[in-house]
Symmetry: C2
Subunit: 756 residues, 2 copies
């Protein structure tokens, strides 16, 4: 049965043509009259006290209009975890101390980029170098250098979860194993480097165009660091060339652009170089995961004891959330009757790690999935079967988290097993060939309000016009994932209109309704989608009332918006075009326009997420036993994202996930020398390209999420997790080398094979 008209169809993305033609305007494409170009001076040392900064030569260079250091600023710390202000540990520009190579020390604005760069070289900073720590083990030693005074232990966040009786659980287990996994740091590697442009109006207010996932968060934190009022800041998100979690915090250049614009009265733009992005940018957390699991003989899980240490780098950034979520992801996917988690977020003198697609899941689930395979093998159970036995199902409760509503996990496992010919291949592949499995569960947005917003989590305003068009305003941010298109589809569906009838304005904090927490954690479709539906339903109620009065309908008549009309369901002749019905409402209100606001805030859904996505993935590989090179021959994916709003977009997300998973599994990593990132270009940072992409086959499992808009839930991030364990498992299948320390490099494979 066809449930929907617009939802579920391959509507072209609203931004597709602009991006294909090159007419899309990104922040760095913008130019304002009198605009200055900004550059940031960064610390060359991983840990040092700033003894003195002499800006005099830089400031007197012709063409330089402004030079600032941390001392010139209001020196107010920021961080996304406003609910716990003690976690806010970062200054926009360093004050007294630098904590990683790349820490922002001073900023210059000049009439052109060259002059700004030249000025950077004229700033003289006297440092007193301090010993640094570069891994979690060293950092938590009692004698380790203290990175932040407020935190002598260097452990900034401790997170514990416990339910069931872990001792009793292990006591009941027939089989217990403990493994340690580690994983590397990788880059978001978004194609658009960060860029921010600030302009001050004559009232001293600031407009900031910035490449961000979180306009509202930037507005709030920029205001607090500038010591201004929130609404004296306007943040506009232009086209964004990817974020993946790397653009969800206030950053130094956003502050500097605004601060210098205010100081000079001129527009100021900062755009990062690719080298800056790699050398100093946010990244995925390296983790050290110790996991102890207990099973019954038949493969039934009885207990899990998980310890995760996150290498947070020099500041908290989004590390606290990752620390929380790791523990949640550790208890998702399978049923753990007894569970204990201890997570620690640990400072080191490296560029801060932060949110990145999956938000702790790729690491946590790598451990889960590999360990599941290790156990399956020892218990003599097929990896598929052990998963089916323990898989979460609809109605399962995760203590302190939520009850799982829609769940297509088992269907996903079965589907990939079928598609890939698992049973056959797992037994009969030739040496050097392998097949492996990885699974995931993921959140559809977060519930825990770490940003401490006083607004709804998402909001929408719908304005309906008598010409049959509708204007949708929302602060939700399309960062390339396609949310503008999806929200238009949802609204078109709800109001029985076509895509061409709907205009959207999104992600402008001054014009779109307060608020939206941004694009991260796969929250947008569910949350902004629900807000859109809420507003649309209010519009419909008013249209239905007007129609009912116009045609003197019995109150029991059901009325619908369908095919551009508003009509009684059983008597479509009692109907008007959408535009006529709007005109009628307007007439009944003496001309007032028909406008409604809607919002969504998850309530009664626990503390983690309102809905869970699930999926499974099988990878087939061939490993060159001479070189250790891995070729991924094929990927099979089955996943449950609830209703598929836009199949092509979901497939795009899937392709992107596989590409990132491939890199995470096999080739991507920041190569560090102490605190220094050595690979700072796409030549040295080995990201898979289109040519590396394996053939891929996908099944969308058909579920309907009651909490989601038209049954939809997450489709953007969950799939970032299964690829690495699937490939790693396949490599093991092909070579006997079981990777406990990502990435699975040829060197490790060859080394591992030797050990065999």
């Amino acid at each position: 049965m066809k449930r929907f008209n617009i939802v579920g169809t391959d509507v072209p993305r609203t931004d597709a043509e602009a991006k294909a033609r090159g007419t899309a305007i990104y922040t760095d494409d913008m130019k304002l009259p009198g605009m200055l170009y900004g550059k940031i001076l960064r610390s060359p040392l991983p840990h040092a006290l700033i003894r003195n900064i002499d800006i005099s030569r830089a400031a007197s260079l012709p063409g330089v209009k402004c030079v600032i250091t941390g001392e010139d600023t209001p020196k107010i710390k920021y961080g996304n975890w406003r609910l716990f202000p003690e976690t806010q540990d970062e200054y926009p520009l360093a004050v007294e101390k630098v904590r990683f190579i790349g820490d922002e020390v001073a900023a210059v604005a000049a009439i052109d980029n060259d002059t700004a760069e030249e000025a950077l070289e004229l700033i003289k900073v006297e440092y007193e170098e301090l010993p640094g720590v570069f891994d979690v083990d060293s950092s938590i030693l009692p004698a380790a250098p203290v990175i932040h005074d407020y935190c002598p232990s260097n452990i900034s966040v401790n997170r514990k979860i416990k339910y069931g009786d872990i001792e009793k659980g292990f006591a009941e287990a027939d089989y217990v194993r403990e493994d340690t996994f580690t994983m590397q740091s990788v880059s978001h590697a978004y194609l658009e480097p960060c860029s921010a442009l600030a302009q001050v109006d004559l009232d001293g207010r600031i407009t900031l165009w910035t490449s961000t996932q979180v306009p509202y968060i930037i507005q709030c934190l920029l205001a607090s660091t500038l010591n201004m009022r929130e609404n004296d800041i306007r943040v506009i998100k232009p086209f964004v060339g990817g974020g993946f979690g790397g653009k969800m915090e206030l950053r130094a250049w956003e502050f500097c652009a605004a601060f210098i614009a205010k100081k000079t009265g001129r527009p100021v733009k900062f755009t990062l170089s690719r080298e800056e992005e790699f050398l100093t940018g946010r990244r995925r957390h390296p983790m050290k995961i110790r996991s102890r699991v207990g099973f019954k003989k038949d493969g039934t899980l009885v207990a899990k004891d998980l310890r995760i240490q996150l290498d947070g780098g020099a500041y908290n950034a989004m590390g606290p959330t990752a620390t929380f979520l790791c523990g949640n992801f550790g208890a998702m996917l399978y049923r753990y009757p007894n569970y204990r988690f201890h997570g620690e977020h640990i400072y080191t003198n490296k560029p801060p790690a932060s949110a990145m697609r999956g938000f702790g899941a790729p690491q946590s689930l790598y451990a889960t999935e590999i360990q599941m395979n290790l156990a399956a093998e020892e218990l003599g159970i097929d990896p598929i079967d052990i998963r089916l036995k323990n898989a979460q199902v609809s109605g399962d409760k995760i203590p302190d988290v939520a009850t799982i509503s829609s769940c297509g996990f088992i269907e996903s496992i079965k589907a990939v097993a079928d598609m890939s010919g698992w049973k056959e291949k797992r037994k009969n592949l030739k040496p050097g060939q392998g097949i492996g499995i990885g699974c995931y569960s993921f959140i559809s947005g977060g519930v825990f309000n770490w940003f401490n917003t006083q607004y709804p989590f998402s909001a929408a305003e719908v304005r309906a016009f008598s010409d049959g068009t509708v204007h949708l305003l929302t602060m939700a941010s399309d960062i390339g994932q396609g949310s503008d298109t999806v929200l238009k589809q949802i609204l078109a569906e709800e109001l029985g209109l076509n895509m061409g009838d709907i205009r959207i304005t999104s992600a402008d904090t001054s014009m779109t309704p307060q608020a939206d927490l941004g694009s991260w954690g796969s929250r947008v479709t569910l949350m902004a989608g629900n807000a859109v539906i809420d507003a649309a339903k209010k519009i419909k109620e008013r249209l239905f009332g007007a129609l009912s009065a116009r045609f003197n309908l019995n109150v029991i008549h059901e009325i619908e918006c369908k095919n551009g009309r508003v009509q009684a369901v059983t008597r479509p002749d009692y109907g008007l075009t959408f535009g006529e019905a709007v005109a009628l409402v307007q007439k009944a209100n003496r001309g007032e326009p028909l406008v409604a606001r809607g919002s969504y805030t998850p309530r009664g859904k626990g503390l983690v997420t309102p809905a869970f996505g699930f999926g499974a993935q099988v990878a087939e590989v061939e490993v060159d036993r001479q070189t250790g090179l891995v070729e991924v021959k094929q990927m099979w994916t089955a996943h449950d994202c609830g209703t598929v709003i836009n199949p092509r977009s979901v497939e795009g997300q899937l392709a992107g996930s596989i590409q990132m998973g491939l890199g995470y599994a096999l080739s991507e990593q920041f190569v560090m020398d102490g605190g220094k990132t050595l690979n700072t270009s796409f030549v040295d940072y080995k990201m898979p390209t289109a040519a590396d992409m394996p053939p891929s086959q996908v099944v969308h499992v058909d579920t309907y999420e009651p909490e989601g808009p038209m049954g939809a839930k997450e489709a953007g991030e969950g799939l970032a997790s299964p690829t690495a364990p699937a490939i790693s498992d396949a490599v093991y299948h092909a070579t006997g080398y079981r990777c406990m320390d990502l990435p699975v490099t040829p060197e490790k494979i060859l080394e591992g094979m030797k050990k065999d």
Copy 2:
């Protein structure tokens, strides 16, 4: 007693600094990537059939991206009088016929201005010239060439007003006189020439930045001429360098920018040259006014029979409104117990006349005021006294128009008589010196809905934030008159906040609430001001409710917004800061932002205006009896604009009115040779400069208009009328030359003095 805190104070204009510094962005300052430059080919003939247009050579000129003629367009006529579609007589580009020198025939868009200009010369138009008519007397002859087929008489609008018994009135008169007055055409001479920039988005929707007084009207008419839906057009008004009625219609270049942008996919900008503005621009109607008035011996008016012929030029433009208003202005100011009016709007082959500051009043009141002086002299009554005897007062009814509410007319007359030393000077000035009087009444916006909007006449949205700031959104257009400032003042006053707490977004049809009819007819302060108050009152009710609940207030407690607080009037300790109160409302609504919409549509106020402004002006002149040159020595003004919201702005309006009145009286006129405008630059078009401005003294009469926001009414246009009759009367007093045919040129004075 100080009634207000912010209202009534000299708050600096929000746009003052930007304009002073040169940072204000006008339409022509804008530049978009890939933008084309447009130029218009205009008819060199006043009346002709278009036999053929050959664009081939122009189109093949390198750099030319588009050439269009009327035949390429949807050929849909437009005009502001949508209520009577038959009055819509203009095509965006001429179809088959041209009707004045300058009529728009074709348009070119090219990569730069020079190429576009060159292309114009390559377009070959074959005309078949038709005989033209250039004055109203010739145009209404039975054998006159017909300018529009639909209108064989060349009289496009007939407007009649009648009340009382005109025959009986004249029968009762002791003294009757009839005079004929004529007046010239003058230019708005705004400093910013018209400019429009269109951009098409990927959905085929159009954004138009344009120098306009009426974004909403442009949106609607651009949509209809392009055969698009209203809301597929977005009109944004950047800074505007004056309008004065000359920018209140859709114009050819706005259509061409949008049409060509749609056709080429590239942004297109048209900016007029000063020569084009003068040669072809809208202008004030030349009129021929025959007025017959009857008085009792004691100077009491008993009857007036007014006949006005408006020389409309080639198209209706805003002529129908001017025709209507002339008749209304003829019956305002004084009490006419018996009144008859017949107005005719007559086509001629000249550039269309249209709205211009005063909208028919400067002409109509020139006749009224001069004739009053002529009668006073013959009746042996002082001009001041005859005015006081007949002056309208509060409570007077103008049949079919309205009941006059607040009225400070008599106080104004007395004030200028006092200030100027009238009684003394009118008797005792030396030869060559003279003193004269002129008075006015004016509307505060129109009631008659000729545009046939289905929306409120004005609307406002107020968003209040917990940081103590407020965002005001309104489609009202600041075109230099200062409405943004005034609306912010009104809102600050109503909410007890400071100017710095309020941010305004105005005049963007896609973002600000529907609708606002624009800036004309002195409607903005009253109408948009009322809409702002309506929205603010809704905000206050919600704040008061929250406060009442918070402090458990007795329901009889009056609560107020004052000094940034919300508090019980008699117990200010039961109070919160504004921001705290907003936070409380938001909390009570589970996070929903505090937003309210307000609107204003005049109802029960007759068919002309909701409120009347009044005033009187005395001019003192010295005339060089050898050269006929007039020097205005001093102006005294007393006027009633109700509550003065911003004294400095009102004085600015007054200064501008005197400047325009001075030009209208003495020097400005379009010199025509048949249909051709001969003076097409500021060298030949004699506009008074700052150096010509006389010293000026002003009294604001203290009244309170119940229909106005905080008692305010019009202050921008009424004063465009009295200056010319006051100066003309003073010239008569100085020389004995009574000017019945504006302007009062030295030649006419010398000629008139000879006749003495």
